[in-house]
Amino acid sequence: MSVMHTLATAATGDDQGLLRAATDLHEALYERGWAADGLPVVPPTRELVDRMLAANDAVAQQLLLVVPPRGGLATMEAVAANCVMAGCRDEYFPVVVSALRAMSSPPFGLAQVQATTHICAPLTIVNGPIRGRLQMNAGAGLFGPGNRANAAIGRAIRLVLLNIGGGLPVTGDRSTFGHPGKYTYCIAEAEESSPWEPLAASRGFKAGEDVVTVFACEAPRSISDHPSETGAGILRTLAESMADKGHNNAYLMGQLAIVVGVEHARTLGQEGWSRRDVQEFLWEKARLPISTLREGGLWGIQVWPEWVDRHDPDALVPMVAEPEDLIVLVGGGEAGRFSALLPGWGSNSVSVSTPMGVSGELACRLEGGGRC
């Protein structure tokens, strides 16, 4: 007999009572502040949490990370509780754990990502066969609703950042606008539609390996290029869209992601463009002159390579320091000549990839004051 039913029959002894108790339980969870993203949650019952831990051979009191700014201890048990609340199936747990482990890597700068006034939110990108096992969406509606794994994994990560990390608006998260991806922000790469090796393979992992990548970035901006029949034409449109002094990359560099739409990727692949070719082309073409950059934006704080002559008004500045700072992957539906740009936060946060797994080298145990 489920906990819900036990609660209801204990309270009322009838089926009408069951429904009323379920509703009341949702309200009780709101009152406790556990439904921290503002949406209803699945009650994190001991039964469901223990089942998720057992299914993944996870040790309840093992510390995964300390989540800023609150300094909350994300034990496996606490993470599992948030996974249950988000609607995760047991098998989603390793993806959530891996994403959080990647975020705990110092270059990701989780404390700053959590607290900044900027609009960025951590995006989770999944590569490898696990995408199929979890029936994740890499295709149409990539960033939208409709897929349980994408939605629940991204939401579980956010609930951890809210509940354990205290990343609540105003008190722990000073973001001026917030971000729709702060409800959920998780995608899979459309590896089967890509002319290139998987994103994870381009970052040093084996093809076919399950890998999670996290990247703090803005919401996706759709870039249309319908008439271009050549890869260069598509890339010129992308480059002109990237060259924009309103995003942080123009001044702080860091990284910027491009999700190449399937139709665009097909054209590029047919012409033999490699991922590196695409990165180099966009890095060369997506530039703005100093004369434009010094009128607004983040002028006054430039994290540019030494070779940029900041006193020359005609000097052209790339949007990132090196071509490899452009994160190029493939995704989205089969129909539509679109790609998507996701500007980053700048040099303060670097994307991190980690192999999928509940245990990992960044994990640590609750010893020595709980610090990793």
Binding site: L7, R46, Q112, N348
Partner: protein, 104 residues
Amino acid sequence: MTTPTTVLGDSIEALLVDPRGEELAPTVQPPRLERVGGASLGLLDNTKWNAAALLQRIAGHLDRDRGLAGTELYRKPSWGQPASDALCQKIADECQAVITASAD
């Protein structure tokens, strides 16, 4: 309509896992200055546009009102990165107190 606490009672505590986790013990604050007058004061600029201006304005007020032994301006590598251990040690060696600020 019955309130949640009335229906569910305290039994909910034993049946649910708290998703917030425990909190690290708060960082111990260093001892406070007994008096600002006569102290050497560090100013830690976080690199935002007006942080140094704000810090120097504060230091000016403190010097005028209380009389400082001196001020020293330090700078983080960027607003998004913490001050290094070496920089913190340098400030500790050279100053009796430090103020930091963020100002866009």
